[in-house]
């Protein structure tokens, strides 16, 4: 299977960032007409590898052969010209430009030297159609689209360039299941058309469905390449993490039903986007929020965190009615809420500040007196957390931007734990995170719950909801359509209610 001459071969690639070795003598061979999955933990060097393929960074050592000839790309444009196109993990869309502008961005159709807007619209519509996203209007601005739609645009953009080799770095991490299916059928069609595809994902079942070849990375080295299907999931994970691998999810101890709820929501509504949401969360409980992406889950968390204005309805914390007007109020000791936001780069982290500064930013109040920071107390708290979360950083005085994606996410979670919150809201915290880290996060959530916190956990990953949550609120169109509990939390019920198939019309009326 690996015998045919590969389209792209990389040999002995090394790359270091200051003291950090991102890649060390990595090899990979990618052939046409196949999908090549790249697997590895966070920080294993996957993104760095594809950045080198795509001409974003140059390797320190090693060579790259495209169709048997030595190549070196000085810029993404050069790689594009050679037929290599990638969908980056960090989206590369321009928020203030329209979808159509973005899709044709590298080579817009021209007439008399000016961009031909009509032709551009056509190309965009075609590309969106091919990517299975014809619901996106080509004239809408990218910044007005939700994350999942943006990823679809990103894929359409890559398709519009008619590549020879297409790279997708966690391109489906924010997609809903139906989108994923559409994208998969597109990818399969491309494969049959003879394209070479590189696919990076932390979702094992996606890889099982798609991949023809696989390469596992660990600590910057390419550990092993093998044809898909020749190893069990278990073996793969062990290759990735380099140690034995046990069950992912911690056991659910079950909650005492008679405990007073720490957070209770009654008929919560906001504009046209949230309607009549009612639920309770008790200490020690992990409440999942499910449903298709963009059904108001994000708004619900923001509403609870004091970000939205003009909220109607009733929110009680410890039986006390509250009306929060800012995150500052939400995190105050009286309310003690924390929100792990969806987009770590813009809402979670100050990228160019150090890990230390990021960790203590939300808890400044508790490590300072009269506005003056107590550095001893700060350092002590940080030490405690670093032990708890095992964040991989050379020193905590380096900018958080130089951590890998997964470790950045851990910093976002850790910074809120500094506050010892009693209500933790999580907005898809495991997006783009490897299994090892995910496992740590699940364990951490359970530990927090056991410590008496109530956790509201929105996830786009059904396995997570099933494995972690004591209860799941399924949302549709801004309201909770079903609450699943116990054995009802299974994939069939979750998907059924997420699509709001009128399986149980009575339920809908029961939770008005």
């Amino acid at each position: 299977m690996l015998l045919s001459e590969p389209l792209l071969r990389m040999e002995g690639i090394s790359k270091r960032y200051g003291g950090v070795i991102a890649l060390k003598e990595a090899d990979i061979a990618i052939r046409s007409g196949a999908i090549h999955a790249v697997l590895g933990e966070n920080g294993a060097g996957k993104s760095t590898l594809i950045k080198i393929m795509a001409g974003v960074t140059a390797p320190d050592e090693g060579r790259m052969l495209l169709g048997g000839k030595d190549v070196a790309f000085s810029s993404p444009a050069a790689a594009n010209a050679a037929g290599i196109v990638s969908v980056f993990q960090e989206l590369s869309l321009i928020p203030d430009l329209s979808v159509a502008d973005n899709i044709v961005i590298s080579n817009p159709p021209r007439r008399f030297g000016m961009i031909d807007r009509r032709a551009q619209r056509q190309i965009a519509e075609e590309a969106l159609n091919r990517a299975g996203a014809s619901d996106i209007h080509p004239s809408s601005l990218v910044k007005d689209l939700p994350l999942s739609r943006r990823q679809m645009v990103e894929i359409a953009k890559a398709l519009a360039r008619k590549p020879r080799l297409m790279i997708l770095d966690e391109a489906t991490s924010a997609l809903t299941r139906s989108d994923v299916e559409k994208v998969f059928s597109v990818l399969k069609r491309l494969r049959s058309e003879g394209l070479a595809l590189v696919y990076i994902s932390h979702r094992m079942h996606e890889i099982a469905e798609l991949a023809d070849d696989c390469t596992v990375f660990r600590n910057g080295r390419s550990i092993e390449s093998y044809p898909a299907g020749t190893k069990t999931d278990h073996q793969v994970v062990e290759l990735m993490i380099g140690r034995e691998y046990k069950s992912v999810f911690p056991a659910k101890p079950g909650v005492e039903a008679n405990k007073a709820p720490v957070l209770s929501c009654h008929d919560l509504s906001w504009g046209g986007r949230l309607a009549d949401i009612t639920f309770d969360a008790r200490p020690g409980e992990i409440v999942g929020v499910g449903g298709l992406d963009g059904q108001g889950q994000r708004e619900l968390l923001l509403a609870l965190f004091g970000v939205l204005r003009d909220i109607k309805g009733d929110v009680q914390i410890n039986g006390r009615g509250v009306r929060l007007s800012s995150p500052k109020e939400a995190k105050s000791t009286a309310n003690s809420i924390a929100l792990i936001p969806e987009d770590r780069k813009t809402e979670g982290l100050m990228l160019s500040m150090t890990v230390r500064e990021n960790l203590s930013i939300a808890a400044l109040g508790s490590v300072s007196r009269n506005g003056i920071i107590d550095r001893g107390a700060e350092a002590a708290r940080i030490d405690e957390l670093l032990k708890l979360l095992a964040i991989k950083a050379a020193t905590i005085d380096m900018p958080v931007s130089s951590l890998s994606g997964g470790n950045q996410q851990k910093v976002v979670i850790a910074k809120w734990l500094m506050n010892r919150p009693r209500i933790v809201l999580l907005n898809d915290p495991t997006r783009g995170i490897d299994v090892g880290t995910k496992q740590e996060i699940y364990q951490l959530l359970r530990k927090l719950a056991d410590g008496g916190a109530a956790i509201i956990f929105y996830s786009t990953d059904y396995d997570e909801l099933i494995g972690c949550c004591d209860r799941v609120l399924v949302m549709y169109d801004g309201t909770v359509v079903r609450t699943l509990e116990g054995d009802d939390i299974n994939e069939r019920e979750l998907i059924g209610s997420a699509l709001n198939i009128a399986a149980r019309p009575a339920e809908r009326r029961a939770t008005p």
Binding site: P76, A77, L93, D96, S98, H137, V307
Partner: protein, 331 residues
């Protein structure tokens, strides 16, 4: 997929909201102005207003080009002054000489802008200090050219450019519209223009998408120099002389920023259009004109101008004060 026309208008409106607001602001203010003017809405009054406003309009367009890339050009006013001084030497003589003179002035402006761009892009310096420094250089050159006010210009040509077409329509407005059509429209619809927007909106993403960022930014700065030079040329036409005026150079720079913001161009980059900036400049200039029609104590006039400017800015920000999702504050 078919897209309804109403949908198309909605996107168009979203995109051009800032420009429309600026246009509305200008129209309202101008109507207040002419309806109180003793001479009324006559070609002369419009001509006077347009001759005065066009300088700022050019500098505002220049500023807009740079601001779109998330940069800023604090030397725009000094480029205008420098080009004014240069023009007062070279835009004279036979029609041919005059023509060459005009070209020389425009090339000089282009060169100033290019210098800014080269330093900022290849020196990787922050635009704000770079242009503070180059503005000192440009002013120094202007002083070398004109240690004292003076010089002259081809008066026949100057009169043509500041008079009325067919006795009704101000030539300066025609030149302004022509400049928009010949400079702004091609630029904004070219690959470089798009890359300029992208650079302002999300530079890293634009780099990843393989856009020609450096050339786009260079083009923006260079064209900004050219447009400021147009302003300098017009200053010469309107005043027949050159003067190395430090204060007015700085004033034009600051006013151009105000005009750009009034015109709905985001200082964070990536948003807005030169047409909006032009309306912003016209509106800003009308604030000064209002002094003429209202009978204010002379000592209260500066205060009046300040307050009207504040109100105009306030109008533009009404929408933001009342968002329902507080995260929208941070866009």
């Amino acid at each position: 997929m078919t897209i309804g026309t109403s949908g198309k208008w909605r996107f168009w409106y979203e995109l051009n909201k800032g420009t429309l607001l600026a246009a509305a602001l200008f129209v309202v203010m101008f109507v207040i102005y002419v309806s109180n003017h003793p001479a009324g809405f006559t070609p002369n009054v419009v001509q006077t207003a347009s001759n005065k406003a066009i300088l700022l309009a050019f500098v505002a367009m220049a500023q807009c080009l740079v601001v779109i890339t998330a940069g800023i050009d604090l030397s725009a006013g000094m480029v205008l002054v420098l080009c004014n001084c240069l023009a007062s030497w070279v835009v004279v003589g036979t029609p041919l000489q005059t023509g060459f003179g005009i070209v020389a002035v425009l090339v000089a402006g282009l060169a100033c802008g290019t210098l800014n761009g080269l330093i900022i892009i290849f020196g990787r310096l922050q635009p704000i200090v770079t242009t503070i420094a180059t503005s000192a250089i440009f002013f120094g050159l202007a002083l070398l050219l004109r240690p004292t006010p003076g010089g002259s210009v081809n008066e026949a040509l100057a009169d043509v450019f500041t008079s009325k077409l067919f006795g009704i329509f101000p030539t300066s407005l025609v030149v302004l519209v022509a400049t928009i059509l010949l400079v702004w429209v091609p630029f904004s619809r070219s690959v470089y223009g798009r890359a300029a927007y992208a650079a302002g909106s999300a530079e890293n993403a634009a780099y990843m998408s393989g856009m020609p960022l450096k050339r786009a930014k260079l083009a923006a700065y260079a064209l900004a120099g050219l447009l400021s030079a147009m302003g300098g040329l017009y200053l010469t036409f309107y005043s027949y002389t050159g003067e190395a005026a430090f204060a007015s150079g700085n004033a034009y720079t600051l006013y151009s920023i105000a005009a750009v913001v009034l015109g709905g161009v985001s200082l964070a980059g990536g948003k807005g259009s030169a047409v909006g900036a032009v309306f912003g400049a016209l509106a800003f200039r009308t604030i000064g004109d209002l002094l003429f029609v209202f009978d204010l104590d002379p000592l209260w006039q500066p205060l009046f101008q300040g307050i009207v400017l504040m109100l105009a800015i306030g109008v533009g920000s009404i929408g933001l004060a009342r968002v329902r999702n507080r995260l929208e504050w941070f866009q």
